[in-house]
């Protein structure tokens, strides 16, 4: 377990806060004095997972660094909805550059701080899956292999949502986007394409790699805090459902993220120096269909011609995650 699970406290550690816990066991998001790195008035869609994920992660880093943090942002939803001229939602030192070079800019900021002797100030780079997995990968891989002192956070919503829901290298198989429409013999995104950036990051043997979702903010905070305990290149990959691109009701964002983990579709784990050190076990395992059915981007799998074989392939992928990462407790705990 990556964090202490608190048993029998009504909601244990599953909810964001919990008045029954000691103050030092409560989350940053439960604190009235949290930074609110991403403030109200931003123009993200209703129920935006990325806005929630970014605030939680950066607030946790702010707490961990004693508010000594600079953030560098790639182009993408997160940048567009937070900073339309002349407004900004950021309540932190924040730099924006281009779509593909955020990791390189973050490296530069880290180098500058080093030159200035400001070892107290830490650097975070962030972007969506388009800017991270596709366009910025060269810069990011460079940042990793040089082990630059940057935490890079990718908010993965599985596509280029800001520009109109195009496919990215993080779009899952069978999902419909505007560039992988649900037509033809194999509707939606093609199987066998795309990549897992957490595993690529691990292959760089950087000090710390972790995944998280907005369904467990306590875990997300823990990982942001833990990342700041290391120096060198670190990578945090956060699953953030997108009501627009996934075609889900805005109130379902967290439920869908929870289903992604409970079905094994999205493994939640952490790794040090390229080795998995901890995984979040599935609490109540569910079939992948429970995760797919509520999402409009998979509607073609449950329509007039159901794609049972496709669902079976996705289930097989989830089963593989469960096996590979050991997501289910083998011993029976009751």
């Amino acid at each position: 377990m990556p964090q202490q699970q608190i048993r029998f406290y009504q909601t244990g550690s599953f909810v964001v806060g919990n008045r029954l816990l000691d103050p030092d066991q409560r989350t940053v998001q439960a604190d009235m004095r949290r930074t609110n790195s991403l403030n109200s008035g931003h123009r993200a869609c209703q129920g935006c997972g990325e806005a929630l994920g970014a605030r939680s992660a950066l607030d946790a880093v702010m707490r961990a660094t004693g508010n000594q943090m600079v953030a560098v942002n790639a182009t993408g939803c997160l940048e567009v909805f937070s900073t339309p001229y002349p407004e900004t939602s950021w309540q932190i030192p924040w730099l924006h550059s281009l779509f593909g070079n955020a990791p390189a800019v973050a490296t530069g900021v880290a180098a500058a701080l080093k030159v200035k002797g400001r070892t107290d100030v830490r650097v975070v780079g962030q972007g969506g899956d388009g800017g991270t997995v596709d366009i910025g990968l060269a810069c990011l891989s460079g940042m990793f292999e040089r082990n630059d002192d940057v935490l890079f956070i990718c908010y993965d919503n599985g596509g280029y949502m800001n520009t109109g829901v195009q496919r990215s290298g993080a779009t899952p198989p069978a999902a419909a986007t505007t560039t992988t429409p649900a037509v033809g013999p194999e509707p939606g995104n093609t199987f066998g394409q795309g990549k897992s950036l957490p595993l690529i990051a691990m292959a760089h043997r950087i000090p710390y790699v972790a995944t998280a979702t907005v369904a467990d903010l306590r875990d997300l905070e823990y990982k942001a805090r833990r990342a700041m305990e290391f120096h060198g290149a670190r990578y945090l990959h956060v699953l953030v459902p997108c009501p627009l691109g996934w075609r889900t009701p805005s109130s379902d964002t967290i439920r869908i993220a929870r289903l992604a983990t409970e079905t094994g579709v999205f493994p939640v784990f952490e790794a040090e120096d390229g080795e998995v050190t901890a995984v979040s076990r599935i609490r109540h395992r569910r079939p992948v269909a429970d995760y797919l059915r509520p999402q409009g981007r998979y509607a073609h799998l449950f329509g007039e011609t159901p794609g049972e074989d496709v669902v079976a392939r996705i289930q097989a992928e989830a089963d593989r995650n469960v096996r590979t990462f050991g997501l289910v407790d083998t011993e029976v705990v009751r």
Binding site: T11, P86, P243, S250, S251, I254
Partner: protein, 548 residues
């Protein structure tokens, strides 16, 4: 920084002044708004004494046992008694039962009640004296509950009872192995100490006289039902036939009855179980309950039947006693007809029994209302309105002597209800029951958030030890298990400060007020996504359409 800031005073590398997105009031996007609500938890809804269970568990959850106790005392002055003898309709209704097992509300109540006795917590009377005097007839759960509440409302109360000790059925009807007498004494003493005048060994016969001559402004009748219902069983002169109510009362007065080794108890209610279990404790080798219908139709509560069976009490279904003789009885077998009514079959059987105890229900002694103008008696009980007032102005009645399910909890609830109505009547108004909230159903909960935790089972004395003594059967919880049990509460329909809404809002549009003051929605920025409502574990947020 303002627009007027001159170039050169801006921070390095910034060419444009920075404006905050707070200028963009995203609340205008909203079509639905989240609203915090308090729904009625099923436990509260089911409690005959009207306790706010969810609230006192909330206080107990953080270890605030005294605050929890004070919350119970708002409605029920007998937590330690109730924690032992209540039939727990709350636990039957508990939503947690659908998830794993119902919260052990009753055991927590008992723990809190026992803490109060141990630590001598008391209740103060804060209301100004009203100058009104109320006579309560009957010092049972209903009468004492009414006396307690009336005293807290500022009235001067006298309680009269014909018995030598107060408590009514709590003392003379419930065996001591279920309810130790020191517990009854302690909780009654606390009420007496608040200034209630207790006059024991006093039979009240003239109600209107008490009002006119003694100057009582109102009367509450709660004499209970303690006359055993008789049945005409053909019996030989030498047959030994007793009635259950007198037997149980005799136990309290130190008169252990001679039952013999083989005891037949006739009836299927809780009293029948109490008598059979008492007989076992008095040394009977064989205690058999004879009941004319089947177990599922038995009025006795499941737990009583279960504990009786565990102690070796035998049960004879579909049987009536046709004849009783010295040393044995004749039983006729019955069968249920289509309407579920037992019909004789003509098949008989002999059963050894040294004595027969009749536990066929109880009647109220209504002599005291005879001749009282306006009081209507029907089906052997006094008729009352929803305000518990009889047809005689100023005379109220409650407990077992009015139409009701006859349990101590219901009686306590009557006492509270009567006190509120008497208070209103004395002040020349009518008591308005507050409007009930919508029920907090299981479907409204987001149960994913609750820890998985089974119920704490109360340690019970070894059966063998139990049947030879009158020691208390069900043990209490200690502090750690009581706390654990309280924390299993789902807080159905009521905010319990989990911070989920505050944490999951992507727009920082939930304002945490802090210090138990819950939260508020910032409608300037709330986009109405509904995440807070969807992720509220207890279903205490509702989305309501905005007016267009």
């Amino acid at each position: 920084m303002s627009k007027a800031t001159k170039q050169g005073t801006l921070p390095f590398a910034i060419t444009l002044d920075v404006g905050s997105s707070l200028a963009n009031k995203t609340g205008s996007w909203r079509t639905e708004r989240p609203v915090y609500v308090d729904r009625l938890p099923p436990c509260n809804n089911a409690c005959p004494a009207g306790e706010n269970i969810q609230q006192w568990l909330y206080k107990a959850e953080e270890g605030g046992y005294e605050r929890a106790w004070r919350q119970i005392m708002e409605d029920n002055p007998f937590p330690a008694v109730m924690g032992r003898v209540c039939y727990r309709p709350c636990e039957t209704a508990c939503n947690r039962a659908i998830l794993d097992e119902a919260v052990g509300i009753n055991s927590v109540e008992r723990f809190v009640g026992d803490e109060a006795i141990k630590r001598c917590w008391t209740v103060s009377v804060d209301a100004a004296p009203s100058g009104k005097r109320v006579l309560v007839v009957g010092a049972g759960p209903s009468g004492l509950s009414a006396a307690y509440h009336l005293t807290r409302l500022g009235h001067q109360v006298t309680v009269r009872d014909s018995a030598s000790e107060p408590g009514g059925m709590m003392r003379y009807g419930i065996p001591s192995y279920r309810l130790p007498r020191d517990v009854v004494d302690a909780e009654i003493q606390r009420i007496v100490d608040m200034g209630v005048q207790l006059e024991l060994g006093t039979v009240v016969t003239d109600i209107s006289g008490a009002m006119t001559d003694e100057g009582y402004d109102a009367v509450f009748l709660a004499v209970g039902a303690h006359i055993g219902r008789r049945a005409d069983i053909p019996a030989a002169d030498s047959a030994r036939i007793l009635d259950a109510v007198s037997l149980l009362a005799g136990m309290e007065n130190g008169e252990a009855p001679l039952l013999g080794r083989r005891v037949a108890v006739y009836g299927g209610g809780n009293t029948a179980m109490d008598v059979a279990r008492t007989a076992k404790r008095l040394g009977a080798t064989d205690a058999v309950v004879v009941y004319r219908r089947t177990r599922d139709r038995m009025p006795a509560h499941d737990i009583e039947v279960r504990e009786a069976v565990e102690e070796g009490v035998r049960l004879r279904w579909l049987s009536t006693i046709a004849y009783a003789d010295a040393g044995h009885i004749t039983i006729e077998k019955m069968r249920l007809d289509e309407t579920g009514f037992p019909q004789p079959t003509g098949e008989f059987e002999d059963l050894d029994a040294d004595s027969v105890v009749l536990a066929l229900g109880q009647l109220a002694d209504l002599a005291l209302v005879q001749g009282l103008a306006g009081v209507e008696v029907a089906d052997d009980v006094v008729q009352v309105g929803s305000d518990l007032m009889t047809g005689h102005p100023g005379v109220f009645a409650g407990g077992d002597m009015v139409p009701s399910e006859r349990t101590a909890t219901v009686a306590i609830g009557h006492g509270k209800r009567a006190a509120r109505n008497i208070d209103a009547w004395l002040r020349g108004t009518r008591y308005q029951r507050p409007e009930r909230h919508e029920l907090a159903t299981y479907e409204r909960l987001n149960t994913w958030y609750y820890s998985d935790a089974p119920a704490t089972v109360r340690p019970r004395l070894e059966t063998a030890r139990r049947i030879s003594t009158f020691d208390e059967v069900t043990g209490g919880l200690d502090e750690s298990t009581a706390l654990f049990e309280a924390r299993r509460c789902l807080s159905c329909g009521n905010c319990f400060d989990c911070d989920n809404c505050f944490g999951v809002c992507p727009d920082n549009a939930v304002i945490k007020l802090g210090a138990d003051n819950r939260y508020e929605i910032d409608l300037d920025y709330c986009k109405g996504c509904g995440l807070c409502a969807a992720e509220c574990p207890s279903g205490a947020i509702e989305m309501r359409a905005e007016r267009t």
